[in-house]
Amino acid sequence: MALETIQIQDKLTETFGSTVSDFNQEKDIFSFEVAADNITAVILFLKNDPLLRFHFLTDLCGIHYPDNDVDHQFAVVYHLHNWYENKRIKIKAYINGENPEIKTISNIFLSTNWMERETYDFYGINFIGHPQLKRILNMDEMISFPMRKEFPMEDSGRTDKDDRFFGRTTDNY
């Protein structure tokens, strides 16, 4: 019996109530949002529940939304995959922009150890409880978190690449 998305949704709302929300089918991936405080519980549940069995974590990454309100300025995105039923889900947890922190899941999925380090490295998201949260791809001496939107990739004084000429504003990221 194939695992239906409605079963996932029912099971999660039954267990976690309103902390899981915004269920929708995005192209081929079923996705939803989880309140950041609950992320470890939800992921552990998804992994261990005998019906859901999302036993493989495909991907973890961060996103920066500087235009959102302060509580939704960063998001951590988790892609989980159930190989038995061949079902993928995407979980998004929004976190605060001033003090971005979320609990680590590296004790649930070993593979997220470096992925969380990478997210920390580029976004400065603090994964509470991570065994070795330090920079991974950039050098240790670096002080900025370069994937945040406020860091321009190129010299912002350049005039030859002005997006205004193409009907866009200069703060088009």
């Binding site: 192209k27 493989f56 991907d59 996103i63 920066h64 995105v77 593979s111 150890n113 370069p146 190129e154």
Partner: protein, 412 residues
């Protein structure tokens, strides 16, 4: 000695101070890499050694980090393909096609069957070159140079096919949204057929050189073994996971580009050691050859090589000079002014080393809002310290090359 290298509070320093062997010898630190010919790329591992045995390893990565994700946020979609080339540069067409398929998923573009089959052919060729490199270099690391020289000329033959398809060899930048930039020339098919005739005999001979070779078996069996549970916990995918006995393959679990039309098996190993990884890759080459033959045999008639999507696919150059519509489309596409929905997509393909995923977030502008590459090497390389614990130094080299960690993909 050790206090010259490490601050006294470092965990290695503590361990060296705590453990003095009975014969008066002490643990030592060895800096493996970053640029050592045996590591095939820029990887640094600081090893804590007891004689020849590795007790602990601390990898440092990021030496060739080029901030592709940041660059991608500032480039129109078609300019991101050259970035994907440079991740796993041993099989860049797979990366290119994976990226185009991500965009096609985003834009709901249906690619004609013939173009899909052509993509399958070029992706399987890329898989073959990837495995040629991994397995023959593994041979070199165990002391067998001949096999490497012998099969490497066939990588050259494959590059000639790429050259005929897209003009480039290593970093191919191949394809467009909806298909290929031009139809494959008869010469490309000719080269492909010659390759299909000549390569199997050479690959068979390569296998014969290694599979029952006493020295090779001694160097690889039970070296760097990883169990299926551990491998999955560490996020292994691809041949390295299949060597541990798990038959997960994106081509089968989520067929893309018409992989469901072809009949092939997923080779699996048993023990997850270096020898099994070698054998799985060998067997995959045979499957890839079979897929290419099937694709050629089933190739639909006609000359469709791209989807009919004028919004995204560059018009023929001669039309641009003589036709107003084409000129407009050409200008808009080159400037990146193409209509893009606000959406999030994730598209996985089976890369040379495992599941290569593209997570794309768009906000309707001409660049991605966020693009994250799920790079299989980055994810499974974190198991390396665990895999070499207790192994000999020479085994560590062999394990590294059997994992086929590609520096470009590791560091992105």
């Amino acid at each position: 000695m050790s206090e010259l290298l490490l601050p006294p509070e470092h965990r290695y320093a503590k361990r060296i101070a705590a453990q003095l062997n009975e014969d008066g010898s002490e643990l030592s630190i060895l800096n493996l890499g970053p640029t050592h010919p045996a590591t095939h790329g820029i990887f640094q591992n600081i090893l804590l050694m007891d004689g020849e045995r590795i007790l602990e390893a601390e990898p440092t990565i990021g030496y060739i980090h080029r901030a592709f994700e940041k660059i991608a946020e500032n480039r129109p979609f078609y300019q991101i393909t050259p970035l994907t080339d440079r991740m796993n540069y041993c099989s860049s067409p797979i990366n290119n096609m994976g990226w185009w398929m991500t965009l096609e998923k985003l834009l709901d573009i249906e690619v004609p069957k013939r173009a899909q089959y052509l993509r399958v052919i070029v992706m399987e060729l890329a898989r073959i070159t990837d495995h040629i490199i991994c397995n023959s270099i593994l041979g070199v690391d165990t002391g067998a140079y001949t096999g490497f020289l012998y099969v490497f000329q066939f990588r050259e033959k494959v590059y000639e096919i790429y050259e005929e398809i897209c003009g480039a060899r290593l970093t191919t930048n191949m394809g467009r949204i909806g298909g290929f930039e031009r139809d494959w020339s008869p010469k490309a098919f000719e080269l492909l057929n010659t390759f299909l005739e000549e390569f199997p005999a050479a690959w068979k001979e390569f296998e014969n050189l290694f599979e029952r070779n006493r020295i090779f078996i001694d160097r690889t069996v039970n070296v760097g073994a990883i169990t299926a549970e551990q491998a999955m916990a560490y996020g292994f995918t691809g041949p390295n996971l299949r060597a541990a006995g798990v038959d997960y393959d994106v081509r089968v679990s989520q067929p893309y580009s018409s992989y469901e039309d072809f009949d092939f098996i997923i080779p699996v190993g048993k023990s997850g050691d270096t020898y099994d990884r070698f054998c799985v890759r060998n067997a995959e080459v045979w499957e890839s050859l079979s897929i290419i033959r099937q694709a050629l045999a089933k190739m639909p008639e006609g000359n469709d090589f791209h989807a009919d999507v004028p919004d995204y696919y560059l018009p023929p150059k001669e039309d641009v000079y003589h036709n107003m519509e084409s000129l407009i489309y050409h200008f808009k596409i080159v400037m990146g002014e193409v209509p893009v929905p606000v959406a999030e997509v994730y598209h996985p393909v089976e890369g040379g080393n495992g599941e290569l995923g593209f997570y794309l977030v768009t906000d309707g502008s001409r660049t991605p809002y966020r693009l994250h590459f799920r790079r299989p090497c980055f994810i499974y390389y974190q198991a390396y310290p665990e895999m070499i614990k207790g192994a000999l130094l020479s085994d560590a080299i062999v394990i590294l090359s059997s994992l086929n960690v590609i520096a470009g993909e590791l560091d992105a």
